[in-house]
Structures are given as C-alpha cells and as structure tokens.
C-alpha cells in the first residue's frame, strides 16, 4: 500500500504509512529520565537494536517471568529505522507477526509503562543489563546466476555499536551479546573495546561482566516463545560473567521446562550458533543435487523424503525448493569461515560449509531456468506471473534474503508482469514493491504462470485457490516448494500444466 519515501529527516512506517520527523536535536534524556522515574528501584534493561530479534526481546524483558524490569529499546535515528522507535512507543509492533502473544505482550508493557524506545545512547548509562541485538552482516558479492564471487565481514558497524555502549555504560554493567558473531568476537573484539572505553573514562575495567547467549528467534507463530520457551545456550568471558548471564536469563526464559546449557567459553557458544545454522544450510545444500537426480530419474523426491523422515534419526532431512533465505542460514557459515581465517589465523576457512552457502545461493536461478526450460522456447516478456509468497519461510512475514527475490529479479529482467501475494507481507522492502494479502483480484485477468514460492499454510489445501486456478484459461503452474498434494496435482493437470521442483514423474 505505502511506499516509504527516503528523506533524511523523516522516517515512514511501512506498516502504517505514518511519517515521523527525525528530531534535529538528538537529545532524549528528559524522556528517558521521565520514563525511569516511574520505575524506582527496578533493574534497567537496555536492548540495543530493534530488529526482528531486539524488538521482541524488549517485549520479553518487559514481561519477564520472575523480575520487574524497566526496559529501554535503542535504535539508530536513521530514515530506515527511526520509525521503529516511534512505532513501539505508539503501540504498533514493528514486525508483522502471526503470533498473538506479540500484541498481548506489547499491550501489557504499555499498560505497565515499563517499555520505552529511544535513539539516545544516554540510555546505556542507566542500564544494569545491556543486550546487544544489532546486526552483523556479511557482504556477499553474487553474480547474476547466484554464484558467490566473494564475501567480506565488515565489523565497522558492530564495533561502533559496542563503542557506543562502552562510552556510556556503568563499570559494573552486564553486557549480553545475542548478535550472531564470528566465533572469538566476545573475547577478541567486544572485551577489548569495552575495556578501552572504560579505561579512557577513568573507570574500573575489571567489574563489567560480558556474556554471550545466542537467540533462536523465529518470527513466526511462536515468535515470543522462541525466546521465552526455548532452549538457551550461554557463556561468559569468566565465571562471574557466566553466572550473571545465567541469573539474568533465568528471569526471562522458562528454564524449568527449557534448561539452560552453559558452555566453557564465549567462543564455544559463538561457535555453537554458527555451527547450528551451518548444519541446517548444509542439509539443504545437500538436497540440491539429489533433487536434480530425482528429476532425471523420474522419482518423486517429496515422497522419498517423507519416507526417510519416518526414521527418527532422519527427521530433519530437508525438502528441495526454491532456495534458502533469512538472516542466518545465508551468512552464518561464512561468518564462521571468516573467523577461522581472520580471528584464529588458520590457513584455511570452512570450505565445506562455504560450499553449502554457494550451492544454496544458486537455487533461485536454477528454479527460474527450470521454469524457462519447461515452458519452452520463446520469451517470457509480457507474461503475467503470480508469485504465491515472498517470505523466505512458511507462515512468517520475513523477506530478509528471501530466495524469492532473485527469482523475482529474473522475471522482471525478462520483462514479465509480476503479481505478488503474501499473507504476512504488505510491503516488500528489498524490492520496494507492494504485496497483496488477497489473491482474488489477480484472478480477474488472465494469468500465464503461477509459481508457488513460499509454503504458507494458507495455500495448503485451499479449495478457493484451486477453484480460482481452475477457472483460468490453461496456464503453467510451478510448485517450487512441494506444496500441492497428489490430488491437487491431478485436478489441476486436467486443465493446466503442472510441475514440481524435485520430482520427475510429472510430464
């Protein structure tokens, strides 16, 4: 609906369209002091970064299980991010989430007045606990076919974020890093920065505590529970830090049901996070060549995978699809590989895990080539193509590094008219395109191609969707996520041409 304008002194919410003025004078001290004066004696938690993780983390802290916190959220006052601050203070959560608990927690926090968002680093000076939830990105350079040419990890912004903390925090603060970082970062980067900042300010450098505990946040229907009711792994740069971290986590995580796991060093927990995600990315990459083989051998790989998943030890074998997206699986293996080379000066990176990323990066272009080859000679220019789903993952409104993006780019480059549907996204930031949450209107005109690009449960066994498709003139339907049932494929095939990536028994 609304296309945010990019003016440096305003910031537009893509959720509500509201335009917020970014103040000329960046001084929010009075509001912070006012807010805190309402919570005398309560420990103050500051969450740095109000993205997918930090925003919900702030809610969870404001609704802690066994402690009453005053919670301050901090985000940068840029045109891209300032609206998040205002949105939180206005009671509109800055992420579209299927999880009802998000609004419930937000409402409760506003009622209790124990959550306030700001841009002013002054907040750090009031903190007992500072949670680092800023991004640490990998710069990837991909060719048009998805091939990873090179990548780099630029720590500049991350260092700046840590310096902002060090320049304002108390000497006995607990800093809890949740950001996914290259293994070794807390010891080799965060600790030295904080030490240096405190030292410059004439403060003690042996009193702060520094812990690492990675999040496993999933911005879907269990968004809140992915923090409050899920397993946590943590560590500290020393025993005191680990204990302080544990004590804090016990106040926000249901640790009786989901016991905490302490590891021996921050490098260990940092490694656990990127290893976890590399394992997942690798398992997906592994399936890619098998899906090609299945297509050649006339085998339905979806039924093969379903059969294999009967085995408890093989339940997490992945399905073929359009590609891998999201903030973690697309970069974490590279973070780790970079750390091995640049922080631990090993002569080699993690080439297998890097290879996993490389393979996955190429999947959307493969899917597009598959479509073109199937449709046959001739240009796709002018074709009316409906994409069902732009999120990178089912039942989530998260388009970060969505594989659908490159697939979309290919269609646009070839001159297609592309229509976008998603239940959870109304503005696709990365492509700056609006997305409809109702596909009805798209079916009013003739469609040439429908591509199922995200396995949202709304598309599964949807009689309405099937009916609309059946009313269309013969068209091409490409299912890139194996969502259509045998029955639906049979039904649709009576009129249309249907293909599913990863199965070769359809003609």
């Amino acid at each position: 609906m609304m296309q945010p304008s990019i003016a440096s002194n305003t910031s537009v919410s893509p959720l509500t369209g509201t335009t917020y003025e970014i103040p000329q004078q960046l001084d929010d001290r009075r509001n912070i002091d006012d807010f805190l004066s309402g919570h005398p004696g309560k420990p103050v938690v500051v969450v740095q970064g109000l993205g997918f993780v930090g925003a919900v983390m702030a809610l969870v802290c404001a609704n802690a299980l066994t402690e009453e916190y005053a919670v301050l959220g901090i985000e940068l006052p840029t045109s891209y991010t300032f609206w998040k601050i205002q949105s939180i203070n206005d009671g509109v959560f800055p992420v579209v989430a299927a999880d009802k608990k998000v609004d419930e927690f937000h409402r409760k926090a506003l009622e209790k007045h124990n959550l306030f968002a700001t841009y002013d680093p002054y907040a750090y000076s009031k903190a007992d606990v500072i949670i680092i939830d800023v991004n640490l990105d990998v710069q990837k350079d991909l060719k048009s076919d998805g091939e990873l040419l090179c990548y780099d990890v630029d720590l500049t912004n991350f260092r700046k974020a840590i310096e902002a903390v060090g320049n304002h925090c108390n000497e006995d603060v607990l800093i809890l890093v949740e950001t996914t970082v290259p293994p070794g970062t807390c010891q080799m980067i965060v600790k030295p920065i904080i030490t240096e900042c405190l030292s410059k300010r004439g403060l003690a450098v042996d009193k702060f505590r520094l812990g690492h505990s990675y999040e496993r946040v999933m911005p879907g229907p269990d968004y809140v529970d992915s923090i409050q009711n899920f397993f946590r792994v943590y560590s500290g740069i020393d025993d005191v830090s680990a204990l302080a971290t544990e004590r804090f986590l016990r106040t926000i995580v249901s640790t009786e049901q989901y016991p905490l796991t302490r590891l021996g060093s921050t490098s260990a927990t940092e490694m656990a996070k990127v290893l976890e995600n590399s394992f997942r990315a690798m398992n997906i990459a592994f399936m890619v060549e098998w899906s090609r083989f299945a297509e050649e051998a006339g085998v339905n790989l979806y039924e093969v995978v379903a059969a294999i998943r009967m085995r408890p030890t093989h339940r997490n074998i992945m399905l073929p699809g359009i590609g891998v997206g999201g903030y973690c699986l697309t970069k974490d293996p590279l973070l780790a590989s970079w750390a091995r080379q640049h922080l631990f000066q090993s002569g080699e990176g993690l080439s297998e895990s890097e290879q996993g990323v490389r393979i996955n990066d190429k999947m959307p272009v493969y899917a597009y080539e598959f479509l073109k080859k199937w449709i046959g000679p001739g240009s796709l220019a002018g074709s009316r193509v409906l994409l069902l789903g732009v999120s990178y993952r089912s039942d989530v409104g998260d388009t970060r590094y969505s594989p659908v993006e490159r697939f979309f780019d290919c269609l646009i480059a070839d001159g297609c008219e592309v229509l976008l549907h998603d239940y959870y996204v109304n503005f696709w930031e990365e492509t700056r395109r609006t997305v409809s949450s109702d596909y009805e209107a798209f079916f009013a005109d003739r469609l040439d191609i429908i591509v199922i690009t995200t396995a949202h449960s709304g598309y599964t066994s949807s009689a309405r969707l099937i009916k609309l498709i059946l009313q269309q003139e013969p068209l091409f339907i490409l299912d890139t996520v194996g969502l259509l049932s045998e029955h639906e494929i049979d039904l649709l095939s009576q009129k249309h041409r249907v293909r599913v990536i990863g199965r070769g028994d359809l003609t």
Copy 2:
C-alpha cells in the same frame, strides 16, 4: 584366537575354529528335498546371501509373525563363505551379535526345523519368495593418505546372483531385492535379467513379481528388531508386484507399530536408501572441518554439539571422530553418484555426496597425523600401542570398512607394536589379527600409547579401565571418539597426557 587357513577345499569358521570340507560334488538336492518334505504346504522363502543382513533375515523369516515359512538360506561354497552355511545348520549364528534375540530365534528355528542353509541354487526352484541379500560392492582406490583416487561399481557378481535366480526360479515367484543397489537397478538390470532367463527357459515372463524394500539392519543389540520392529519402505515394478511385496512384508514386520511406506517406483525406494545413508555420511563429513576449527579455537566441540543437540531439529548432528566405517555410509553415496552417471546418463554425478565420502575417508589418517604431531618429533617405531575397539561402530561386532583399519595400518607401517581389544570381535578378518575381549593382560607390560578407537559402552565410565591406566607409567591417551568424561580426563591428566580429537582445550 583362530586364524582361518585359506585352502580352496576347506572353510574355517572364525567364530569356532571349526574346519569344514567343501564337498567336491556340489549337489545338495537331496538335503533340500528332505528338508522341504517336512513342511508340506508351507510357502518357501529363499534368502540369497548369508551375510550381516541375509543371515538375520533368514532367522526373521523362520520366525515370521503371521505365517509359517520353510526357509532356505543360500551362500556360495567358497572357502570364505562355506562355513556360514554349516554354521547356521549347526546352530551357530555366523555373526557375533550383542542381541539375545538372535540366539533365541536361531534356537526356535532349529527346534521347528524350518531353517536350512545350502549352497545349491536348486533351492530357488522351490521358492515362493526369493529375497536378494547379496553384496553389491564399490571398488574404491584410496591413496595412503585416504584420498579417493577413483572408484567403480562392478555389477558382475550382482548380475551373476540374479542370473542364478533367473535360471532356476518359478515363473510366478516373488523376488524381493533388499540389497542396496544403484537407483534404477531393479528396472534396468534385475527385471531384464529375470525376463531373459525365464524366456530362455520357455517360461512366461509376465508372471514374476519384483519388489524392492531396503533393509535398515544394524548388527548391534537390536539386530533382530532392526528388521522385525522397524519402519520399512517398499515398492514394486508394477502394482501387482508392490502388493505382493507388501503382503509378504506384513508377515515378517510388526506393521501395526511400524507402518509400511509404499513409494511410486523401485527407483524411488532405491534412491531413498542411498539418500538416507548419504545424508548421514554428509552430516559426519560436515563436522570434520569444524572439529579442526574447534581445535584451533580452543573450543570443546563435544560440549558444543551436546548443546546443539538439545534442539529437536538438530538432534542428529554428529560428533567428530576417527572416521566413518561400515558397509553403507562408505559406499552408498558413490552408488548413487554412479547410477546418476551410468544408469541415467546424466552428465554429472552427485559431487557433494561424493565429497562427503572423500572427506570421511581421510579421517583415520588425520587422526594418526594428529597423534604423531602431538607426541612430537621422533619415531613411533617400537611403541606399544593399545587400540580400544576395532569395530566401526559402538556396541557392534562389525569391522567392515572400519576406520580403525587404516589407523592400525599407519601404526604398523611406522613399526609400532599394536595390541587390539574389542568386546565383540575376536578375529579381525580385514587385518587377519586376533583381538582380545579382555584388556587386563595388555596392562601387565608397559604401554606407550592408548587410543580409544570405538565408543563401546564397555569403555564408558569403566572404573577398572581407569584404574589400570592410572597404574601405568606416564603415557599418551588419544580419545578419537569423545568417550572420556570431563572427570576422567582430569583424573588421567594428573599422570598422563590426554587429548581428544575435536576439542582444543586440553594440553
């Protein structure tokens, strides 16, 4: 204890030392007829191949759940295999197994007289069901450092085995292939051979039924249950074949608890099996570079993996170790890759899955190099080295393609005196060495190095083992499977030098 002699007219049981004469006249018809005359009207099941799978399959069929079968087991009358035939008929199961059910099933079958083993293909002519459990090997050419130079799939023996069936079977037999085969084999190899043989014999070629259902046999404590009480995937070359296969499987598998899964084609089930094992092999290979990284970063990878395994979706992440062994994971990815290239004429194999095998193949040599580097300059010649475990897997007496073999070869090549212990192996066929199931005697003399090479549960928290080690003069202990607990490491480190592969925090 006993080293079987290799004379062409005798065959020695490595289990009992008994020498069996191989008959000059290979004619067992009278015995077969005698045996079957005791079971009038019963369906006859013939199991081709009495290895780790076929031997126990014969027992399971002889103790079928809902049918009374007369079961014939067939093995070749070579000096390597003839003893298995006699051993089964003498009541000694030809595989050392921790599973008590094996002996129980064997005893019952002998009591019922419904199991008889033979070498004579005449048996096939009596069969209602023929189960193919012969080996299909991959010929791998490895360099001394474990690098896979090339490999080949030679179907000659497999074809011969199928021809033996085709030359004797009835035209309406059910042939059930359980052997792990390259995807496409039943359709492209087995079916044409049987058709041709029947045709040559003037029999109908449209009456035989051909099914594929891969086994998931694990020769450990659940050896029998890995057939009788486990999930099964099956298929047929046509509907009638699939139904006949299903009907048979229902008589031997507890299908109420472990429902059968039917797939659309034999290529699909063939692919499922090799995909399953490739997934496993890949998951292990994936950990290799991470274990190196963990060593460099001073991280205990075992605790990291334990933390990751808390996540239900990551429970099957593997541990680093000495390598990958066994009959399946070392070859199945290659079978699949070969099939893609040679049966489906794809321009490419499955390079990622091949890479998994390549990485795993190098692990034992890496473990050995790790040991040498750790011990420091100087030769290992003359060192007295105790290996705890020669099996490829914990609590199993199975040395096929055990990674310990190459590690052992390295020690021998460097002039070490190597002592071998295993609870489940008393003769190590591949190296033709005896193995003790009691380590006590080895500790009578000074030891220089102890390497834990298999994670048998007998070694876990064994106070006796720890006590014996502590009584030794200072020595080197390399744990290649992460078996030692923190406490044991602390205890042993007071006197000895201890290292665990995959963790870098021990010095």
